[in-house]
């Protein structure tokens, strides 16, 4: 077994209603320190986690959505969003945060971290993983 495993974090729950989304993000950030091959999936209501324009001032819960912007700095840039989940919720990629990273293999060019994929493509991606963490 190689020292590097493919870790997949599956995010399927809406933010704020329950804490799963936030505490999942905390694990994802920690995972960056272990130099594994990390991918994230946002499917079903999980796509709401990375919706743009979140403002929790009135609600009183901490707005943790800006933290997703830090993922690129942690070399976490394989973020897969299921197309069918977006469509069912009346959303497009323009309704999501613009998450990017700087590609060191391409003269630090800024690139999109988010890849919108079909269910079939996502199924294949999930199948290639070694460890799947769900919240």
């Amino acid at each position: 077994m190689s020292d590097t495993k493919k870790f997949l974090f599956v995010n399927r729950k809406a933010p704020y209603g329950t804490i799963y989304a936030w505490e999942s993000l905390e694990v994802i950030l920690i995972s960056a320190a272990f130099e594994q091959d990390v991918s994230l999936v946002f499917a079903d209501d999980g796509v709401f986690q990375i919706a743009k324009g979140q403002d929790t001032t009135e609600l009183g819960i901490k707005n943790f959505s800006p933290t997703y912007n830090a993922l690129g700095d942690y070399d976490i840039n394989k973020i897969y969003v299921e197309k069918e989940s977006l469509e069912a919720r009346g959303l497009t990629v323009d309704d999501l945060l613009k998450l990017t990273y700087e590609d060191e293999d391409d003269d630090w060019a800024e690139k999109d971290s988010i890849h919108v994929v079909s269910s079939a493509e996502l199924a294949e991606i999930m199948d290639q993983q070694d460890v799947v963490l769900s919240f």
Binding site: Y16, L59, G60, I61
Partner: protein, 130 residues
């Protein structure tokens, strides 16, 4: 108008307790009386003084204690639900032979009858849960 509130979920884990806090604040601001908040199921986890939330987040347990003191609200933690989940006051500590307790200020542990009583005495009973 006289309100009773039931909360079924723990703080942080679920939004229910935060929603109830905001609702109760708005109700007392509008001049209503909130007679009792009854914590049931995982709601009993709102009543532990052992929580230490992140510094940049809200402290829900303290918010309940303060709101209750300011507006004379009866915060009741269900004893049966509390025993399953490890919420203990001095009486429960002695009864169950525990070496300490963790109940937060302003909360008391009592029976399920307090919930039914709230339903009888209040004009409205509003439930927040999962």
């Amino acid at each position: 108008m006289k309100f009773g509130i039931q909360i079924n979920e723990g703080p942080y884990t679920h939004e229910a307790s935060t929603t109830a806090l905001n609702f109760v604040s708005a109700a007392v601001e509008a001049g209503h009386e909130v007679f009792r908040v009854f914590f049931y199921h995982d709601g009993v986890n709102n009543g532990t003084r052992y929580t230490t939330p992140p510094q940049d987040d809200r402290n829900i347990v303290e918010a309940w204690s303060e709101l209750a003191e300011k507006h004379n609200i009866d915060l009741v933690v269900c004893v049966a639900a509390a025993q399953r989940r490890g919420i203990v006051d001095e009486g429960e500590q002695e009864r169950n032979g525990k070496d300490g307790n963790n109940i937060a200020p302003g909360f008391r542990i009592s029976g399920l009858g307090q919930l039914i009583e709230a339903g009888i005495q209040c004009d409205r009973l509003v439930v927040f849960g999962d």
